[in-house]
Symmetry: C2
Subunit: 125 residues, 2 copies
DNA sequence: ATATTATTGATAATTATTATCATTAAGGGA
DNA sequence: TCCCTTAATGATAATAATTATCAATAATAT
């Protein structure tokens, strides 16, 4: 027995899956807490880490200096509005093509890529 | 008079320019401190922020959750080794082309993009 | 059902960043 | 060159983010 499926982990993953906002740990904690107020912050940190190891959850890199998380692990890009700071999904740029360009043009062997576009979103404009 | 050129700012920029390792604030502080031990950490934070506003310094997003900095503002990509965690420059992928793809294929208006490739570097392999 | 032990919740400790404030010094004008 | 104004500094406190600790709980193999 090296790993256990807990009710907490299930709830955390379920809540993150429903969130399309790419929350930080704190934001995820608040959403989880609304569903089950007995779940503590440390449990969020622990389970998000575990879910990442299991490739169920992926980091979203943003320029605000805090990590965000996404339950959609299909490698895709993100757009961050410099004004409202919301993070949106971008499916119009092929990340696999980027990895292919790397493979042919560079000496690095990369199997993973994070892409963050920035600008002002249509709502803020 | 709204801004002043201080000796500290000069040293910090000079040291960062010479560093090719994309340091964190702490790493930059240590390098600066070796040159002038009177310069405090808060001054590093302040001047790096200022230099970013002046487009002399750019953030490097990495998956370790801490911001790194680069004095090369020509928009380029980075590769991070998952083993030794070093960050390397990548000039083989055209970021302007990425922004062009965004312009034609998506509804977002983006003027900036951060790209981080990951894998194992040749030295660690 | 029971025993083992991974996981939890609470909280302390650590790390990263920002704010505060008295002092210092950049640089414009006399 | 010497003041004068005030931006910037260094030291440190405050805040925010993350990790570590530990007794209690609960998942699961037997």
């Amino acid at each position: 027995m090296n790993t256990r499926n807990t009710k907490q982990k299930e709830i955390i993953f379920e809540v993150l899956c429903k969130m399309k906002s790419h929350p930080t740990i704190l934001e995820l904690y608040e959403a989880v807490h609304a569903k089950d107020s007995s779940i503590g912050q440390a449990t969020i940190y622990r389970n998000v880490s575990k879910l990442m190891e299991e490739n169920m959850v992926r980091k979203v890199l943003t320029s605000d200096g805090v990590l965000h998380y996404d339950a959609n692990c299909n490698n895709h890009c993100h757009f961050r509005c410099k004004k409202c700071q919301k993070v949106f999904d971008v499916f119009d740029v092929d990340t696999q093509k980027l990895l292919d360009v790397m493979k042919t043009n560079s000496s690095f062997e990369s199997d993973d890529v994070y892409v963050l576009f920035e600008g002002i979103c249509s709502r803020c404009r």
